[in-house]
Protein backbone atom coordinates (compact mmCIF):
# COMPACT_ATOMS: atom_id res chain seq x y z
CA UNK A 1 0.00 0.00 0.00
CA UNK A 2 1.45 3.31 -0.99
CA UNK A 3 0.19 6.87 -1.08
CA UNK A 4 1.81 8.96 -3.81
CA UNK A 5 1.35 12.67 -4.07
CA UNK A 6 2.50 14.14 -7.37
CA UNK A 7 3.01 17.83 -8.05
CA UNK A 8 0.00 18.99 -6.09
CA UNK A 9 -0.72 22.62 -5.37
CA UNK A 10 -3.40 24.49 -3.47
CA UNK A 11 -4.73 27.90 -4.41
CA UNK A 12 -6.89 30.22 -2.37
CA UNK A 13 -8.27 33.14 -4.31
CA UNK A 14 -5.39 34.29 -6.49
CA UNK A 15 -2.74 33.13 -4.05
CA UNK A 16 -0.84 29.87 -4.26
CA UNK A 17 -0.65 28.41 -0.76
CA UNK A 18 1.89 25.70 -1.50
CA UNK A 19 3.19 23.52 -4.27
CA UNK A 20 3.95 22.00 -6.53
CA UNK A 21 4.67 19.36 -3.93
CA UNK A 22 5.49 15.66 -4.33
CA UNK A 23 6.08 12.94 -1.79
CA UNK A 24 5.07 9.38 -1.07
CA UNK A 25 4.33 7.36 2.03
CA UNK A 26 4.31 3.58 2.16
CA UNK A 27 2.73 1.12 4.56
CA UNK A 28 3.82 1.69 8.16
CA UNK A 29 5.39 5.06 7.45
CA UNK A 30 4.68 8.30 9.23
CA UNK A 31 5.19 11.79 7.92
CA UNK A 32 5.31 15.02 9.90
CA UNK A 33 4.20 18.19 8.17
CA UNK A 34 6.08 21.12 9.62
CA UNK A 35 6.19 24.76 8.70
CA UNK A 36 5.16 28.18 9.98
CA UNK A 37 1.54 29.24 10.46
CA UNK A 38 -0.20 29.74 7.15
CA UNK A 39 2.18 27.53 5.21
CA UNK A 40 -0.68 25.23 4.15
CA UNK A 41 -0.33 22.24 6.48
CA UNK A 42 -4.05 22.09 7.27
CA UNK A 43 -4.95 22.78 3.64
CA UNK A 44 -2.76 19.88 2.53
CA UNK A 45 -4.39 17.53 5.04
CA UNK A 46 -7.89 18.60 3.94
CA UNK A 47 -6.99 18.03 0.30
CA UNK A 48 -5.64 14.56 1.08
CA UNK A 49 -8.82 13.83 3.03
CA UNK A 50 -10.87 14.67 -0.06
CA UNK A 51 -12.38 17.76 1.54
CA UNK A 52 -10.27 20.57 0.11
CA UNK A 53 -9.98 21.49 -3.54
CA UNK A 54 -6.96 20.27 -5.43
CA UNK A 55 -5.79 23.02 -7.81
CA UNK A 56 -3.34 20.81 -9.71
CA UNK A 57 -1.57 17.48 -9.42
CA UNK A 58 -2.64 13.93 -8.63
CA UNK A 59 -2.99 11.88 -5.45
CA UNK A 60 -2.58 8.16 -6.07
CA UNK A 61 -3.35 5.24 -3.80
CA UNK A 62 -1.71 2.02 -5.02
CA UNK A 63 -1.38 3.67 -8.41
CA UNK A 64 -5.02 4.76 -8.81
CA UNK A 65 -6.20 8.37 -8.86
CA UNK A 66 -7.98 8.22 -5.54
CA UNK A 67 -9.61 11.66 -5.37
CA UNK A 68 -11.62 10.92 -8.52
CA UNK A 69 -14.34 9.22 -6.44
CA UNK A 70 -14.50 11.07 -3.15
CA UNK A 71 -17.07 8.77 -1.55
CA UNK A 72 -14.79 5.77 -2.20
CA UNK A 73 -11.74 7.77 -1.12
CA UNK A 74 -13.43 8.48 2.22
CA UNK A 75 -13.13 4.79 3.15
CA UNK A 76 -9.34 5.12 2.93
CA UNK A 77 -8.89 8.07 5.26
CA UNK A 78 -9.63 8.96 8.83
CA UNK A 79 -9.30 12.68 9.48
CA UNK A 80 -8.99 14.56 12.77
CA UNK A 81 -9.03 18.30 12.22
CA UNK A 82 -8.81 21.31 14.49
CA UNK A 83 -12.42 20.83 15.48
CA UNK A 84 -13.36 17.84 17.58
CA UNK A 85 -16.71 17.10 15.88
CA UNK A 86 -18.08 16.15 19.28
CA UNK A 87 -21.80 16.69 19.86
CA UNK A 88 -22.40 17.95 23.40
CA UNK A 89 -25.89 16.41 23.47
CA UNK A 90 -24.66 12.86 22.80
CA UNK A 91 -22.78 10.55 25.14
CA UNK A 92 -19.19 9.57 24.39
CA UNK A 93 -20.36 6.21 23.05
CA UNK A 94 -23.02 7.77 20.82
CA UNK A 95 -20.50 10.28 19.51
CA UNK A 96 -18.24 7.50 18.30
CA UNK A 97 -21.00 5.49 16.66
CA UNK A 98 -20.43 1.88 15.59
CA UNK A 99 -17.35 0.16 16.99
CA UNK A 100 -17.25 2.66 19.86
CA UNK A 101 -15.78 0.26 22.43
CA UNK A 102 -12.42 -0.01 20.64
CA UNK A 103 -12.07 3.76 20.55
CA UNK A 104 -13.13 4.30 24.16
CA UNK A 105 -10.64 1.70 25.36
CA UNK A 106 -7.80 3.10 23.22
CA UNK A 107 -8.10 6.59 24.68
CA UNK A 108 -9.04 5.44 28.22
CA UNK A 109 -12.54 6.90 28.06
CA UNK A 110 -14.45 3.73 28.94
CA UNK A 111 -15.42 5.05 32.37
CA UNK A 112 -17.00 8.11 30.69
CA UNK A 113 -18.74 6.13 27.94
CA UNK A 114 -22.28 7.06 28.99
CA UNK A 115 -21.59 10.65 30.03
CA UNK A 116 -22.94 13.37 27.76
CA UNK A 117 -20.00 15.06 26.05
CA UNK A 118 -21.10 18.49 27.27
CA UNK A 119 -19.60 17.55 30.66
CA UNK A 120 -16.21 16.85 29.04
CA UNK A 121 -13.19 19.10 29.40
CA UNK A 122 -11.42 20.38 26.28
CA UNK A 123 -8.76 17.67 26.65
CA UNK A 124 -11.35 14.93 27.08
CA UNK A 125 -13.19 16.11 23.95
CA UNK A 126 -9.89 15.95 22.09
CA UNK A 127 -9.36 12.39 23.33
CA UNK A 128 -12.84 11.53 22.10
CA UNK A 129 -11.99 12.98 18.68
CA UNK A 130 -8.81 10.86 18.58
CA UNK A 131 -10.73 7.80 19.76
CA UNK A 132 -12.61 7.98 16.46
CA UNK A 133 -9.39 6.87 14.76
CA UNK A 134 -9.36 3.60 16.66
CA UNK A 135 -12.96 2.92 15.57
CA UNK A 136 -12.17 3.12 11.86
CA UNK A 137 -10.48 0.66 9.54
CA UNK A 138 -9.02 3.37 7.31
CA UNK A 139 -5.36 2.86 6.35
CA UNK A 140 -4.47 6.58 6.11
CA UNK A 141 -4.69 8.77 9.20
CA UNK A 142 -4.62 12.52 8.63
CA UNK A 143 -4.06 14.43 11.85
CA UNK A 144 -4.11 18.19 12.32
CA UNK A 145 -2.41 19.19 15.59
CA UNK A 146 -3.68 15.98 17.21
CA UNK A 147 -2.15 16.40 20.66
CA UNK A 148 -3.20 20.00 21.30
CA UNK A 149 -4.52 20.16 24.87
CA UNK A 150 -3.69 16.56 25.80
CA UNK A 151 -2.01 15.61 29.08
CA UNK A 152 1.22 13.58 29.13
CA UNK A 153 -0.49 10.25 29.85
CA UNK A 154 -2.92 10.76 26.97
CA UNK A 155 -0.10 11.63 24.56
CA UNK A 156 1.61 8.36 25.54
CA UNK A 157 -1.64 6.44 25.00
CA UNK A 158 -2.08 8.15 21.64
CA UNK A 159 1.52 7.11 20.84
CA UNK A 160 0.55 3.47 21.45
CA UNK A 161 -2.44 3.89 19.14
CA UNK A 162 -0.22 5.35 16.41
CA UNK A 163 2.36 2.59 16.84
CA UNK A 164 -0.33 -0.08 16.58
CA UNK A 165 -1.73 1.50 13.43
CA UNK A 166 1.72 1.64 11.81
CA UNK A 167 2.54 -1.91 12.85
CA UNK A 168 -0.66 -3.02 11.11
CA UNK A 169 0.53 -1.34 7.92
CA UNK A 170 -1.21 2.01 8.30
CA UNK A 171 0.10 5.39 7.21
CA UNK A 172 0.11 8.50 9.41
CA UNK A 173 0.38 12.09 8.19
CA UNK A 174 0.38 14.67 10.93
CA UNK A 175 0.73 18.45 11.01
CA UNK A 176 2.10 19.65 14.29
CA UNK A 177 4.12 22.20 16.22
CA UNK A 178 4.39 19.94 19.27
CA UNK A 179 6.60 16.85 19.54
CA UNK A 180 4.54 13.83 18.52
CA UNK A 181 5.12 10.22 19.62
CA UNK A 182 5.96 9.16 16.05
CA UNK A 183 9.41 7.47 16.01
CA UNK A 184 11.27 7.50 12.68
CA UNK A 185 8.81 9.81 11.04
CA UNK A 186 9.86 11.50 7.82
CA UNK A 187 9.63 15.26 7.79
CA UNK A 188 7.95 17.30 5.10
CA UNK A 189 8.71 20.99 5.34
CA UNK A 190 6.26 23.48 3.89
CA UNK A 191 7.69 26.92 3.35
Amino acid sequence: MVLEVQEIAAVRGERRIFGPLSFSAASGEAMLLVGPNGSGKSTLLRILAGLGRLAEGVVRWNGNDTLADRAAHAALVSYVGHLDAVKPGLTARENLGPNAEAGLAAMALSHLADQPARFFSAGQKRRLALARLACSQAPIWLLDEPTLGLDVASVARFGDLLAKHRAAGGIVLAATHLPLPLPEAKELRLA
Partner: protein, 221 residues
Amino acid sequence: MNAFWSIIGRDLRLSVRHGADTLAALMFFVIASALFPLAVGPAPETLARLAPGIVWVCALLAALLPLDRLFGADFEDGTLDQLLLSGLPAALVALAKAISHWFSTGLPLLVVAVPVSLMLNLDNDALPVLIAGLLPGTALLSLFGTAGAALVIGARRGGVLLPLLVLPLTAPVVIFGVAAADAASQGMSFEAPLLFLAALFAGALPLCPLAAGAALRAAVE
Protein backbone atom coordinates in the same frame (compact mmCIF):
# COMPACT_ATOMS: atom_id res chain seq x y z
CA MET B 1 -26.28 2.34 3.75
CA ASN B 2 -25.63 1.99 7.48
CA ALA B 3 -23.99 5.41 7.49
CA PHE B 4 -27.15 6.87 5.95
CA TRP B 5 -29.42 5.56 8.69
CA SER B 6 -26.93 6.45 11.39
CA ILE B 7 -26.99 10.12 10.29
CA ILE B 8 -30.79 10.11 10.57
CA GLY B 9 -30.75 8.26 13.89
CA ARG B 10 -28.15 10.58 15.35
CA ASP B 11 -30.01 13.72 14.26
CA LEU B 12 -33.31 12.46 15.62
CA ARG B 13 -31.64 11.56 18.91
CA LEU B 14 -30.20 15.07 19.07
CA SER B 15 -33.56 16.67 18.32
CA VAL B 16 -35.10 14.68 21.18
CA ARG B 17 -32.26 15.72 23.53
CA HIS B 18 -32.69 19.35 22.48
CA GLY B 19 -36.47 19.07 22.70
CA ALA B 20 -36.94 22.78 23.27
CA ASP B 21 -35.65 23.60 19.78
CA THR B 22 -38.03 21.10 18.24
CA LEU B 23 -40.98 22.35 20.26
CA ALA B 24 -40.18 25.97 19.40
CA ALA B 25 -41.16 25.43 15.75
CA LEU B 26 -44.44 23.79 16.80
CA MET B 27 -45.26 26.53 19.30
CA PHE B 28 -44.51 29.15 16.65
CA PHE B 29 -46.96 27.40 14.33
CA VAL B 30 -49.71 27.33 16.95
CA ILE B 31 -49.17 30.91 18.14
CA ALA B 32 -48.88 32.41 14.65
CA SER B 33 -52.10 30.64 13.57
CA ALA B 34 -53.85 31.77 16.74
CA LEU B 35 -53.05 35.42 15.91
CA PHE B 36 -55.22 35.32 12.76
CA PRO B 37 -58.60 35.18 14.53
CA LEU B 38 -57.43 38.23 16.48
CA ALA B 39 -56.35 40.04 13.33
CA VAL B 40 -59.17 39.22 10.87
CA GLY B 41 -61.96 38.85 13.44
CA PRO B 42 -63.48 35.72 14.95
CA ALA B 43 -66.38 35.31 12.47
CA PRO B 44 -66.55 31.51 11.84
CA GLU B 45 -67.26 31.86 8.08
CA THR B 46 -64.30 34.20 7.54
CA LEU B 47 -61.96 31.86 9.43
CA ALA B 48 -63.22 28.77 7.61
CA ARG B 49 -62.54 30.55 4.31
CA LEU B 50 -59.01 31.55 5.36
CA ALA B 51 -58.10 28.41 7.31
CA PRO B 52 -56.21 26.47 4.56
CA GLY B 53 -54.11 29.49 3.70
CA ILE B 54 -53.33 30.28 7.33
CA VAL B 55 -52.32 26.70 8.10
CA TRP B 56 -50.13 26.43 5.00
CA VAL B 57 -48.31 29.73 5.42
CA CYS B 58 -47.76 29.26 9.16
CA ALA B 59 -46.54 25.68 8.66
CA LEU B 60 -44.16 26.91 5.98
CA LEU B 61 -42.73 29.63 8.20
CA ALA B 62 -42.48 27.27 11.18
CA ALA B 63 -40.58 24.71 9.08
CA LEU B 64 -38.03 27.42 8.24
CA LEU B 65 -37.16 28.06 11.89
CA PRO B 66 -34.86 25.06 12.54
CA LEU B 67 -33.27 25.22 9.07
CA ASP B 68 -30.33 27.47 9.81
CA ARG B 69 -29.13 25.00 12.46
CA LEU B 70 -29.63 22.04 10.10
CA PHE B 71 -26.03 22.33 8.87
CA GLY B 72 -24.90 25.34 10.91
CA ALA B 73 -24.08 23.40 14.08
CA ASP B 74 -22.40 20.59 12.12
CA PHE B 75 -20.32 23.09 10.17
CA GLU B 76 -19.14 24.93 13.27
CA ASP B 77 -18.15 21.88 15.31
CA GLY B 78 -16.46 19.93 12.50
CA THR B 79 -19.15 17.25 12.22
CA LEU B 80 -19.82 18.23 8.60
CA ASP B 81 -16.27 17.17 7.64
CA GLN B 82 -16.83 13.82 9.29
CA LEU B 83 -20.23 13.39 7.58
CA LEU B 84 -18.63 13.98 4.19
CA LEU B 85 -15.96 11.42 5.12
CA SER B 86 -18.54 8.82 6.12
CA GLY B 87 -18.24 7.20 2.68
CA LEU B 88 -21.63 8.45 1.49
CA PRO B 89 -21.95 10.68 -1.57
CA ALA B 90 -22.62 14.26 -0.44
CA ALA B 91 -26.11 14.11 -1.98
CA LEU B 92 -27.06 11.21 0.28
CA VAL B 93 -25.73 13.07 3.32
CA ALA B 94 -28.04 15.94 2.31
CA LEU B 95 -30.97 13.55 1.78
CA ALA B 96 -30.44 12.05 5.24
CA LYS B 97 -30.47 15.57 6.68
CA ALA B 98 -33.70 16.39 4.79
CA ILE B 99 -35.33 13.21 6.13
CA SER B 100 -34.33 14.01 9.70
CA HIS B 101 -35.65 17.56 9.27
CA TRP B 102 -38.96 16.13 8.09
CA PHE B 103 -39.22 13.72 11.02
CA SER B 104 -38.29 16.35 13.59
CA THR B 105 -40.27 19.27 12.09
CA GLY B 106 -42.55 18.28 9.18
CA LEU B 107 -44.22 15.30 10.81
CA PRO B 108 -44.96 17.08 14.13
CA LEU B 109 -46.34 20.06 12.15
CA LEU B 110 -48.60 17.68 10.25
CA VAL B 111 -49.99 16.33 13.52
CA VAL B 112 -50.45 19.76 15.11
CA ALA B 113 -52.11 21.04 11.92
CA VAL B 114 -55.21 18.99 12.82
CA PRO B 115 -56.12 20.83 16.05
CA VAL B 116 -55.06 24.14 14.52
CA SER B 117 -57.38 23.58 11.54
CA LEU B 118 -60.23 22.73 13.90
CA MET B 119 -59.49 25.88 15.88
CA LEU B 120 -59.83 27.87 12.64
CA ASN B 121 -63.17 26.19 11.86
CA LEU B 122 -61.94 24.46 8.72
CA ASP B 123 -64.62 22.57 6.84
CA ASN B 124 -64.79 18.90 7.92
CA ASP B 125 -64.56 17.70 4.31
CA ALA B 126 -61.52 19.85 3.68
CA LEU B 127 -59.51 18.68 6.71
CA PRO B 128 -58.38 15.31 5.31
CA VAL B 129 -57.49 16.99 2.00
CA LEU B 130 -55.51 19.70 3.77
CA ILE B 131 -53.53 17.07 5.69
CA ALA B 132 -53.09 14.97 2.54
CA GLY B 133 -51.65 18.06 0.85
CA LEU B 134 -49.42 18.89 3.80
CA LEU B 135 -47.87 15.41 3.66
CA PRO B 136 -45.98 16.01 0.38
CA GLY B 137 -45.98 19.72 1.21
CA THR B 138 -43.94 19.44 4.39
CA ALA B 139 -41.62 16.96 2.67
CA LEU B 140 -41.09 19.54 -0.10
CA LEU B 141 -40.32 22.19 2.49
CA SER B 142 -37.70 19.88 4.02
CA LEU B 143 -36.12 19.26 0.61
CA PHE B 144 -36.10 22.91 -0.52
CA GLY B 145 -35.00 23.94 2.95
CA THR B 146 -32.09 21.49 2.96
CA ALA B 147 -30.86 22.82 -0.36
CA GLY B 148 -31.18 26.40 0.89
CA ALA B 149 -29.52 25.62 4.22
CA ALA B 150 -26.60 23.94 2.46
CA LEU B 151 -26.13 26.99 0.23
CA VAL B 152 -25.91 29.48 3.09
CA ILE B 153 -23.45 27.46 5.23
CA GLY B 154 -20.74 29.75 6.46
CA ALA B 155 -22.40 32.84 4.98
CA ARG B 156 -22.55 35.90 7.14
CA ARG B 157 -26.18 36.44 8.25
CA GLY B 158 -27.10 33.10 6.68
CA GLY B 159 -30.21 32.93 8.83
CA VAL B 160 -31.60 36.02 7.11
CA LEU B 161 -30.56 34.91 3.65
CA LEU B 162 -32.15 31.50 4.00
CA PRO B 163 -35.85 32.53 3.94
CA LEU B 164 -35.11 34.81 0.97
CA LEU B 165 -33.80 31.78 -0.92
CA VAL B 166 -36.35 29.21 0.17
CA LEU B 167 -39.63 31.15 0.32
CA PRO B 168 -39.88 31.95 -3.43
CA LEU B 169 -39.32 28.26 -4.20
CA THR B 170 -42.26 27.31 -2.03
CA ALA B 171 -44.78 29.47 -3.93
CA PRO B 172 -46.08 26.61 -6.12
CA VAL B 173 -46.30 24.33 -3.08
CA VAL B 174 -48.55 26.81 -1.26
CA ILE B 175 -50.66 27.47 -4.37
CA PHE B 176 -51.48 23.81 -4.99
CA GLY B 177 -51.77 22.93 -1.32
CA VAL B 178 -54.32 25.66 -0.63
CA ALA B 179 -56.12 25.02 -3.93
CA ALA B 180 -56.72 21.38 -2.96
CA ALA B 181 -58.19 22.27 0.44
CA ASP B 182 -60.28 25.10 -1.06
CA ALA B 183 -61.68 22.80 -3.73
CA ALA B 184 -62.61 20.21 -1.11
CA SER B 185 -64.41 22.76 1.08
CA GLN B 186 -66.45 23.88 -1.96
CA GLY B 187 -67.28 20.29 -2.86
CA MET B 188 -65.22 20.31 -6.04
CA SER B 189 -62.62 17.84 -7.25
CA PHE B 190 -59.35 18.22 -5.37
CA GLU B 191 -57.33 15.54 -7.13
CA ALA B 192 -55.47 17.69 -9.64
CA PRO B 193 -53.75 20.03 -7.13
CA LEU B 194 -52.78 17.07 -4.94
CA LEU B 195 -51.27 15.33 -7.95
CA PHE B 196 -49.35 18.51 -8.77
CA LEU B 197 -47.93 18.47 -5.24
CA ALA B 198 -46.95 14.83 -5.68
CA ALA B 199 -45.29 15.68 -9.00
CA LEU B 200 -43.35 18.53 -7.38
CA PHE B 201 -42.24 16.12 -4.68
CA ALA B 202 -41.15 13.56 -7.26
CA GLY B 203 -39.05 16.24 -8.97
CA ALA B 204 -37.55 17.70 -5.81
CA LEU B 205 -36.66 14.33 -4.26
CA PRO B 206 -33.68 13.71 -6.56
CA LEU B 207 -32.85 17.33 -7.47
CA CYS B 208 -32.71 19.04 -4.08
CA PRO B 209 -30.28 16.54 -2.48
CA LEU B 210 -28.01 16.81 -5.54
CA ALA B 211 -27.95 20.60 -5.28
CA ALA B 212 -27.49 20.46 -1.51
CA GLY B 213 -24.71 17.90 -1.85
CA ALA B 214 -22.78 20.12 -4.26
CA ALA B 215 -23.26 23.04 -1.86
CA LEU B 216 -21.96 20.94 1.05
CA ARG B 217 -18.82 20.03 -0.90
CA ALA B 218 -18.26 23.70 -1.72
CA ALA B 219 -18.84 24.72 1.90
CA VAL B 220 -16.04 22.58 3.34
CA GLU B 221 -13.50 23.54 0.68
